[in-house]
Every structure is written in C-alpha cells, then in structure tokens.
Symmetry: C2
Subunit: 363 residues, 2 copies
C-alpha cells in the first residue's frame, strides 16, 4: 500500500515559515513512528498569483482533489489589496473550500493552561475552556448568487446573497451532532432566525436532525446573543454550530478569548473519498501576518496543531495526535514562548524554528 499523501500549500506571509516547522514534524513522525507521508508542495494565494497570475492554478486544484489531505498556511497581504476581486489571494482559499466541498469547518477554541494568563479575559472565565465551533464552509453569503456591484439608476449597489438549502444545513448539522456525541453531548446552534428567513430554515432543519441524536442536548441562540455569551461566559458552550459568515466572526471572537490565537488549528472536512477518508484541508486560524513575515518571529504551533488534527481526522491516528499535542503542552509548560505569547517585554522570545526545535525534542 502506498503512503498517504499530503499537499502542502504554505501560501503567503508567515505561511512558509510556520509550514517549514510542520515539515520537520512530519519528518519526525516518518522517522520515529512509522508514519510515512508522500508530501508535495505547491502555491496558493498571493504566492500563486505572483507565479501564475491567479490565486490557485487549475493544476494545484486538481492535485488538492487527489491527495488525502491538504495542509494550508495562510493567504493574503497588503501587496494584493488592489487586485481585482477574482484575483485576490482569498479566492484561492475559497476555491479550495468550495471545489473540495469542505462543508464542515471545525474550529476548536481551547485555552492552554500555560497561557490562561495571556487572555484579555479574566483567568477564571477562560481557564480550561474547550469549545468546538462547527462552521458551515461551502455556502451562505460567501458563495450565494447573485453577487457583485451593479448599476442601479444613477448609482451602484453592492449585492451578496445568503442562501442555504435544507441539505446544506443538514450535512453541517449532522457533523456537529456527531462531534457532540464524541464530546459532551451539548450543542448550541446560532443564527438570526428573528430577522432572517435563512435562519428560520436553519433552525428548523437543525431541530429535525436532532431527532436522530436524542442524547444531545440542543439549544438555539441568536448570533448576536451568541457573541455576547461567548464574551460573558464561554464555558457554558461545548459544540457550537453556525453558518459560514456568523462562523467567521464568532470563531474569531472565540479564538481571541483563549488568548491563544497563534495556537489554534482548524480542520475543514467534506464527504468521504473512495478510500474512506474525508476530503480534508487543515489550516491555522490565524492569518498571514504580513507585518512579521520573514522575520522568524511567527508562532508555528497553530499550524503544527493543524497537522495534529490531520492525524486525528484524516488518518485515524488519534494517539499520535495526542502525542504531538502533549509535546506542545510540555513545551509551553516549560515556558518556551514565541513573541506573540509574551506579555512581558523583559523575557526573550524564541524564534519560529527554535519553537520547532523545542517541540521536536519534547517528542
């Protein structure tokens, strides 16, 4: 049997430097745990635009469809701000999500013990926090038609369409209920059913799916209240299910609560492929951070934890994922910190690759 395949798309900004550390981790698992991967690397985002004039080439898209999992760094940067909408780095990422049909985006918001002090929230509010946000990722206002900027009378109008079919809602909901079954059996679904019909349909379908998961305690919350409750008392949540746009905002809000933004991974999963593995892409929640790119300052942990999610969700290697996560916790407990994890100017931060070294030696 051939090795499972990984396509690495480092992207822009700090993407390449954090991904370099992931490659060392991948190599370690090959050399020491008998987990060999066939790794290839390609371009996405601004890097792809610079090379090919578009943010994702058809060849790269085709490769992404064939591999067992994609690992993505980050896309975007001020250099590309004036590009036409269809050429922006983000379109490369969105094309991957859409064409691979990665409808279920898992975003853990977890507060690492060693970093609880680093949150802007009080320690008792966030210590031990462990939420999983399931964001629908292939539909909604991100992809709905009609969209664009149109002439209307003597002015222009900007239009986007929020659009959800029952089956789109249902499959995202099922993935959230499945996750809830493996966690604390508590699921909160968020929308604006009080003002949006798409939210009414969302709530109705989620209620219908819940009949198949009688053990899961389901609640509904308006998304604005959801944002409030996340800030007020995030530990009331376990799994949160929401749509593409609310998920974008609420998951970033939740990520920031933990004080561990440079630490948070994500998995974007689709339907099972012929080999039984889900279509999958893994990426850190943080962005391309152009301000610190190329300086060896970036924290590689979110990207490395994204690989841990790949081990767990694509390759059924939960124990190896645990091993990697434990190594990271040890390194943090030892006080190793990249600059983003330091409140105190007096302490000397480690570089991106020194953080990689520390994790490798903890492994």
């Amino acid at each position: 049997m051939s090795n499972p395949s990984l396509l690495i798309l480092p992207g822009d900004g700090i993407g390449p430097e954090v991904m370099a550390e992931v490659r060392r981790i991948i190599d370690w698992f090959g050399a020491n745990r008998g987990l060999q991967f066939d790794v290839s690397e390609d371009l996405v985002g601004g890097a792809a635009y610079d090379a090919h004039g578009k943010p994702l080439s058809d060849e790269t898209m085709a490769k992404a469809q064939e591999v067992d999992a994609v690992l993505l760094g980050a896309v975007g940067g001020p250099k590309y701000d004036d590009l036409d909408f269809s050429l922006k780095p983000e379109r490369g990422l969105l094309r991957l999500r859409k064409e691979m049909d990665l409808y279920s985006n898992l975003r853990p918001a977890q507060c690492f013990d060693a970093l609880a002090d680093f949150s802007s929230l009080k320690k008792d509010i966030v210590a031990g926090l462990d939420i999983m946000i399931v964001r629908e990722l292939t539909s909604g206002v991100y992809f709905g038609e009609p969209r664009g900027i149109f002439e209307e009378g003597n002015e222009r109008v900007g239009i986007n369409t929020q659009r959800y079919t029952e089956s789109e809602i249902e499959r995202a909901a099922r993935s959230a209920f499945e996750l809830a079954m493996r966690r604390n059996k508590k699921l909160c679904s968020m929308e604006k059913a009080n003002v949006m019909e798409s939210g009414i349909l969302w709530r109705e379908v989620v209620n219908r799916v819940s009949a198949d998961y009688p053990e899961v305690e389901l609640s509904h919350m308006y998304a604005d209240n959801g944002a409030m409750q996340l800030v007020r008392a995030p530990k009331q949540f376990d799994v949160i299910l929401t749509d593409n746009l609310f998920g974008d905002i609420l998951s970033d809000c939740a990520a920031m609560l933990t004080g561990s933004l440079g630490m948070l991974p994500s998995a974007s999963l689709g339907a099972p492929m012929a080999n039984g593995r889900p279509k999958a892409m893994y990426e850190p929640v943080h962005g391309s951070a152009p301000d610190i790119a190329g300086q060896g300052k970036a924290n590689p942990i979110a990207c490395i934890l994204s690989f841990a999610m790949a081990l767990r969700y694509s390759f059924d290697q939960g124990e190896e994922a645990d091993r990697l996560e434990a190594a990271i916790e040890k390194v943090l407990a030892d006080g190793v910190r990249t600059g983003d994890l330091l409140a105190d100017e007096g302490v000397q931060p480690v570089s991106t690759s020194e953080m990689g070294d520390a994790i490798l030696s903890a492994l």
Copy 2:
C-alpha cells in the same frame, strides 16, 4: 410653542417596568428643569400582537412618524416564538426603523468606572473604555429582497439578500465621520471586503466620504478581525462604522466587554424633520429578558440613559443629559446595584424602582 412630543413604546418583557422608571425621570425634568414633554404611550412587539394581531399597528406607526422622538423598551419573548415571521415582535421594531428611515444607529460601549470589575475582561483592558459604534440600520441583509423560504427541486432554500446602495453607505458614513469629528477623530470601518462585493463597495464609498473629513484618521478592518480586536484590545477604537448585520453582532460583543450590558443605551437617527430635529428612536441595547420580567429585578439604567441620549441628540439639551448621566454615575459609585450588576451573591440587590428612586434623589 408646544412642548416637544415623546412616544413611549414599552414593548415586552422587562420593557414596561424599566420604562416606568424613565417616565419618573421625564417627570422630574418637567417639574425641576422646565423641560416639559407631551408624552403618549402605545404598544409594540408582542404586546401589540396580543392587542391587535400585529406587532405594530398602522396607527402607532403613524404616531411614531409625527412625534419628536420615540422611546422604546424591548420586544420579543418565547410566547411568540411560533408566530409567523411577519407577525413576530421583532417585525414591529424593524418596521419602525425602516419606515422612520433611521439609518444611523449609535451604540456607545462604555465601561462605567464603578463597574469595571464586573466585566469578564481584565480591568486594565476595559477600564475607561468609551467606544461609539455606528451601525447602519435600515438596509443590508435585514431588508434586502429577495428573501424568504422557497421550493427548489425537491427541497427548500432559505434566502436573504445583503444589499447596499452607494447613497445608503454614504449617509451612514457621514454620520460616523460627523461623530468622529466631535470625538477623537479616529474612525474604523468594518466589513468583509475580502469575500463580499457589498463590502468592497462599502469600503470604496467610505474612502470617498473621508475626503470631506481630512482630519479624521480612517482605517478599515475585516469584521472577523474586528471581533478579535474588540476582545483583545478594545481601547484601540474610538468610532466604529459598520453595516446592519455586522453591527448587530459587533455592538453586542462590544457591549458585553464593558460588563455593563444593563447600562447601555442606543440612539437611532434619521434625516432632519421640518423642525430641524432628526427622526429619532431611543432604546436600550439589552433585550426583553423574559426570564426576569415582571419581578422588579430589571436594571432601568440602559433605558434611562437612552432618554439621556434623546436629551442630547433630539432636544439639544447636552447639559441636562450630562446631569442625568452624572446622577447615574453617582448612584453607581455609591454602590447601588440591581441584580445584574452583582457578582457577589451576598450583597442585597435593589429593585428596578429602588434604582429609579436612587437616581431621582441623586438628581
């Protein structure tokens, strides 16, 4: 000259009980400061539905168009959850906003010194916080067509339309720039121009308007990053401008940061009327809180501060507004607390009307 007119719409849940305290404050200004108002009262939301079968009668709508300012309590409650969309309590509120054309919704997020400890955020992150969010209130996905739940093939699809014309963006932007000129001359506009064309148009129009306000330092931020930055370091902001839906979520997030949710007022302003006053409605940011309704537990301060905003923005009585706000700060400094402002179970909270008493005697 006749007295200025106020239409009071207490609405549902805790609306009536907090509004009862506002009426006493209004009376105080009439008796002691020579500020007489012609006050009338009517129904909105579930209360209107119970009486007339719709969440806002045409008669009430017509009255709202005629008065100098509307004061609204809150709408909604679980009793109305199963009503048809068009009959929901929220539709009454949205009809007022839309037909009065109240395009500029001002939502201060202010941390009261006496309550800084009460935030879930660390005290140094929020103490002294004073942000003003300007939310576009009459357009966007709240009102765009097409909308609804439609049959498509053998399933249904929920559709809403995000829609902004240049002139809609421009008038909201102007009101934000005007506010910024009266504050710290710093404005941050938030959208998702990286994924939504409506956000691209938004950013373009805001940039254009900024040419008329060269003194205002303008920045742009993606709304997801905005949510993060609000949690991370809210004091970096002064005035924030955003659309209807992002404004709904971001302003609730900002409100919760302050730890003073029961304290936060809002003003919704439209174009000037014949008498020069803007069309205006004032309401607390908090909801109808059905769980504590009718028990005399609710905090009336947000609603009273909404009247202070009316004094300032509708009646040009900035000094009287200052007087009222100072009275409230004094009461808080004295340690008077409704239940929502108490972390410590040991302390005895005051009732809604006792809080009203305290503010009246501070006046």
